[in-house]
Each structure stands twice: as structure tokens, then as C-alpha cells.
Symmetry: C2
Subunit: 452 residues, 2 copies
Amino acid sequence: MSQVAETEPAASFLTCNIPGDSFPKEYEPHTEEPEEVSKKPITDTPSKHKLKLQDIQDAQNRIKKYVVCTPVIEAKHIGKSFCNVMLKCENLQNTGSFKARGACNVFTSMSPSDRSKGCTVSGGRNFVSAMTYYGFRQSVPINVVVSKDCPLVDKHRFKENFAIVKVHGNDRNDASLHALTYCDEIGSIYVHGTDRLDLIAGYGTLGLELLTQLENMDAILCPVGSGGLVAGLLMAVKSLKPNCLIYGVECSAVPTMTKALQEKKPVMIQQKPTIADSLCCGIASQNAFNIIRGYLDRMITVDESWISRAMINILEREKMVVEGAAACPVAAVMAGKVPELRGKNIVCVLSGGNINSSRMSRVIDRGMAAEGRLVKFSVTLPDVPGAMAKLLAKVTDIGADVKSFVPERAWMRRDIFTVSVNMLIETSDLHHAKDLEKKLLKDYPHSHFIML
Amino acid sequence: MSQVAETEPAASFLTCNIPGDSFPKEYEPHTEEPEEVSKKPITDTPSKHKLKLQDIQDAQNRIKKYVVCTPVIEAKHIGKSFCNVMLKCENLQNTGSFKARGACNVFTSMSPSDRSKGCTVSGGRNFVSAMTYYGFRQSVPINVVVSKDCPLVDKHRFKENFAIVKVHGNDRNDASLHALTYCDEIGSIYVHGTDRLDLIAGYGTLGLELLTQLENMDAILCPVGSGGLVAGLLMAVKSLKPNCLIYGVECSAVPTMTKALQEKKPVMIQQKPTIADSLCCGIASQNAFNIIRGYLDRMITVDESWISRAMINILEREKMVVEGAAACPVAAVMAGKVPELRGKNIVCVLSGGNINSSRMSRVIDRGMAAEGRLVKFSVTLPDVPGAMAKLLAKVTDIGADVKSFVPERAWMRRDIFTVSVNMLIETSDLHHAKDLEKKLLKDYPHSHFIML
């Protein structure tokens, strides 16, 4: 099977930058509140200062000894026969994501008096992990407010870095709102997870690093949540190598930046559940939006099934653990969404690897199902001795592997002389699964083949 | 929890090399058949030529443009507070394992007439994958003989490289024996997977590469199956940096080299099932044994539970996919088997990453169970409405997560007024699991806590 879907049409181009436009060395940040948002987001007042390339370069000088210069690895399988894919492995960054760059920049540029007050944070696990990690190492006390639904493993990570963890509210928004009042109570500084220019400058160091690691980049595909990473990356790369294309990729369940570009301003959108959960932010960052508007070459969305297929391919073929968000750029390549990049050298940013193991097991199953390598079969058999053995032998002969086998008698609608069997079967690929279906249907006409 | 077990005693030192002995630049290979093996292994007649450091250097010059110079990554979590662990990522090598180095060296040093005859191979998936990959790329036709139990995904990989795959026999030994006669029939060259000096020289390039990547290596921990990798690595490293310690690590289920060192010659041993399946070879390579004897600083064995814990730690904390064999060195560090390396810079060779996804799901469960993060509970309840809801609420209050919940009525021995419930529960760690046990026992005296 080709690694790139041939059938799916390319997404329509959303933005209109002419590749090669040079990027101005600084931009005027937005200073007004976003208009017409359906629910007022928690954002810092956007900074009155301008973000300049120099800020990213300064950030790099400050943080370089505390963050990992993450390797760039040539993909062995993904995109092969279509283009040359390089993987920028921010999943190997400290704390398992690019957020380390931003968090480290926040602390290394903080005044001694602010450091002594300590910080209060709330938000996504990658951001909070990075803040607790560098807070501890830079001797800044950290308070974390999480909601009741915060996974065990996340709380455990925060506490490993000696953060004080407070549980409040039913969801992340409740927790964040509480963090805002709580930090006032305890006299600590609230650090918001998006929209801060010092975070964006920190993330931008990833772009500077890429420029030193690769000479021949034609395009960079970057996951987009609130947009901080793509904004920093774009400012760094377009300033120094303006003809390198920058694409943002987000999940179709939460297309915040796609929507912002369509509406010409960040708007609150309804969040749906997604494997790429760390992209769930509800609204694009105003500062990030202002930086990329007019310069981002394309915004692409990918659906859940392609994200899980990308994750399992990165896991199996590239031997890397990535979270759903980080798989989005690879998903875009695999889904055939970038036909214009045929033959090009493209970088997919693997933004992070923080996925908990029990969820990974489920992703593996989903990914295998999406690839047609895990199929469900319901077969109706005569309820006589030996009938089940015969069915299993048949499946084995076709070269497939039976993973589970559940006979169902009590709820049958047909009659008491038959039994229905639900099987979960592993096959080589979709072609093999279809072949299995054909052969089973011949002997068992009352069979239902269900691709998950 | 500390990452290094404090309680487990260090394994006794098996070999007696004084660290720092300089390694001779060549060694006399063994030319006799091994004596007293319980079952005659399939081996090439050991080469009459000497293996020299120069052979490894020549191999490096031949293969360097075809293999990946794999990154060395500092471990973020493993071994922390004990020593500085660096991971040599051969899981990111072409074909997902170090075998690529050997296979590439075989083909690049083959005469044109031998190339045109083609090769026949059999054996472990990593070796066969590497041979089919480089055979195709070096235009050498490859025939593969596999046994009936060869997994689907492996056959699929071999065919991707246009190898002709023949299925014969019930196990790998049957297939290998058949390959020996089959290659004569078709006039193809049989390439045995162990004991060839050109393979060992290829593997040795990993050692040369490490010497250029790291200045301060105190010790290298290397997985050992038949011993080819550790032999090549040892020859390269001890020749040029004699004071660097080289340790071999194998799984306690198949301690071929430990046994060989004890018996002073390779002996056939009974193979038990192990997660580190690619280390299963039955007997150590005679040539490898001759190279390392007297120079290997230690041989260590690790058990299945530590291997699965190492795999899940590499997956979760270091974001790398490795197979069981590759996790053995990390398992040795985590199990507290190298107390003498406290504070040292040590390299763990992640030899490969070829584990299929459905097996990975099982490894995740095993690893979590071994860490006390997945526990089984059997609880007896009154069979009245609301009893199950109360139990689930109780578990949730303790902060644990119920993964599965199966009430069992039909097979109860007690009475018809009670129901037994089997629960699979996710906890933060062993401490949390023990706490849960204590609290549940208070309300439900007929509870059994089963750590998997």
C-alpha cells in the first residue's frame, strides 16, 4: 500500500501568502481585546512590546544550555516515494514537548523579585509539566491548579517537580479561572499558557535550531493548537529563510486557527473530543494570529482516523512515541493533503510525546483498525459440536490471527439452533482483510464484516 | 519512587578482566567445531581469517553512506540520581535494528559473481529484515525461508523488499535447516545470521561511531543474544579506548553467553519464552565468544519483569519504541545490577525497535502491572441494587481509575445472595495500589488483591 492516499483531494488553500515573501524583522502586536468571541477567553492583555527576531535569538542564548537540541531524523517509511520527510523530534525534548523552550525562557528572563514570589499555572499537561520542571530547576516555587478530571499520571509528574498541586472545578476552564483568583490570594504570579510573547519567543528557538540543522528545507509542517509554536517558528524561519514554506496542521475536531483565518480574528469554537487533545484550546492566541496572518502558507486540517494512522506509523516504522497533536503533520502527508510538496524536503515537527500508556494501547487498536489490520467479524454458525473449531481453522488457513472469540447465545434473534460468534481478527492489511471477508462469506453467508 | 532498585543485590561478576587491559588489535579466530553441544547448531565453519580492528574500520568506510549514524540521547529519567545514562538509538537505524550494519557490510564486500547468485537467509526477523532491505538496494536477489509460526507483519516486511518468501517447517530451526538444502537447489549463497566475521565487523562500526559521538564514556551496556554485536563493539572500543568498560546484558530466560563463559565454550541451552525474543539463539557464536573472552568486563542477566518495566519506562519517559532485547541494558540499570557504575557516564545500546503493535499493547499492560500501576481486585458484594455503584464510587474517591469491571455470579462458591466482581484498576504507583488495598479491605473483607 502506498503511504500516501491518492484519492483524497487536497484541502483548499486558506491563506494567500506568496511563497518567498520576506518576513519583516518585527511586527506590531495586537493590543485590543478580540471582538465577538462567544465566550470570553482567559488571556493575558496582549503585550505592548513588539516581538522581534532578536527576542528569539536572545531566548536561544538564554535557554540553550537548559534545553535539548533535539535530533532531526529522516523518516524511513512515512511519505516514501512521494517526498523526503524529516522528523524534528521535540518529543525528545525535556518534559517531552516543545513547551520546555517557552517555559525555560519565561524563568530565565524573570526578575529576581518575581522569581521569589513564585508562579501559579493552569492549563494543558505539556505546558504545566514544562513550567513545573523549569520552575524547580530555576528555584521558582510553582503552584498548579488542576481540575478534578486531571489524569493521575499528570498530577504525579507535576509533584515529581515539587509543585504544589491544588484540585479545583470540573474542567480545565474552571481550574484556570480559579488559578487567576488563587494567585492573587497567595501573592504569586499567574503565567498564562498562551499569548505571552516570551513563550512564543521560546518556541521560536525551534525554528532557529532547524535552520542550523538542515540546509535544504522546502517546507515545515507544524501542529497548531492556540498557535504559539507555529508563530514563533514562522517568525524565526521566514525572517532568515523566507522561501521556506510554513504550513500549520490542526485536527478537524478543533480547527481554531482555520476558523480564525476565515473570520480574520480568533473566535471561540466548540471543542470536540480528539486524539490530538493537547491542541484543544478553544480559541487561537491573538498574538500568534497576528504574527502568522499573511505569512503562513497554508492551514490544513486532518481527521481522527488519519491522526491515529499517523501515530501507529510513527510508532511502528519510525520507532518514536508521539502524542496525537504531534502526529498531525505526518497525518497531513499520509492523507495526501500536500500534493504540491511532491519531491520536496519537508520537516514534520513532532511537537511532543506525552501520551499515557493506557491511552497508547487504545490508539494502537484504533490505528490498526483504521489501517484495516484489525477487523471485527460476526458469524452465525450451527450450534453443534465442532462448528467453532471449523471456523477458527478456516480463519487460520487464510493466514489471519484470531485475537478474541466471543460466542453469543442468549440474545440471538434467529433460533436456538444457531450461535453467533464475534471475532476480532488481525490481518496484514486492508487487502488481506477484504480477502478474508470474501472467503468467509462463501462458507458463512450470515456473516457481518465490520471495519472498526 | 527511585528509578534504581535498592534492594536487589548486584549479580556476581562472571568474568575477570581488569578494566583498562588493552585489547590486541587482532585475535586468532576459533577454527574447531564446538564440543559437547547437546544439539548440533547450524553454524558456518568459523573463518580462518583473523578479525582485525582494520576490518571494522574498512566496514565503516564501506557502509557509512548506506546506514544511519544513529543519535545518542541523554536519558531524561532512567537512572537519574544514580548515574548519567546515554541511549544509543539503533532502534532508529534502517530496518529498525543494528543488524543493518552487518547486512550492509555483507553485501558491500561481496564479489560481483556472488551477488549475481543471490542469497538465501533464515533466522530472526531483525537479521532477515536487514538482509532483504540491503539485498534489494544492492541488487542482490534474496530468498527467505520462514517457519509456519512467522508473524504476518514480518512476512509483509520481507516482501516489501521484494524478497521471495518460502514457508517451511514448524519452527525457526526447521526453517533454517531447510534453507541450507534449499540454497544448494537454487544455487544461491546461504548467509548464516551469526558467527560470520563480516557481520561482526559490520556491528563493530557501532563502537567506532560511539567513540566519535561521546568523549566521556565510562561503560557501555550491550544486549547479548549470540554475541555478535557485543563482540564487534568490544573489539572496536577496547582497541581504541581500553579503559571503557564493556558489559553484556542478556535475559535470564536465555543466558547463552553467561553459560558459555561459565563453561568456557558455547553450549546449547534450553530456550524459554521471553519478551526479549530476538535474543533467543540457543547458543553463543563461537567467533563472538572468542573475541570477548577475557575482555568483557561483566555479563549480567535480567528477568522478564525488569525487561517489561524498562520497556515501558523507555516508551513513556524517553519516548522511544524498543523491542525487549533492546531494553535489557536499561533493565540492568533499573534493577540495581550495576552498583559500581554510580556517578558514571554509561551508554545503554538500544539495539532495535522491531516489536509489533499488538504485542506492544500487551507489554504496556505487563509493564504497568509490574510497576504496580495496574492491579486486579476481586471483591465480594451483597447482590443488591446499588452495591456495585457504591464500590465504584469508593474506588474513584481513592483516586484510582477502573479499567474493567466484570461481575461473576454463575460460578460463585459462597451463596446466591452475593456477587463477586473482578476489577482491573489503574493506580499512580505501587504505593497508591497498596493504599487502595488497605481502604477497600476495610469495607469489603472478602477482597483479594492480585498484582499481575
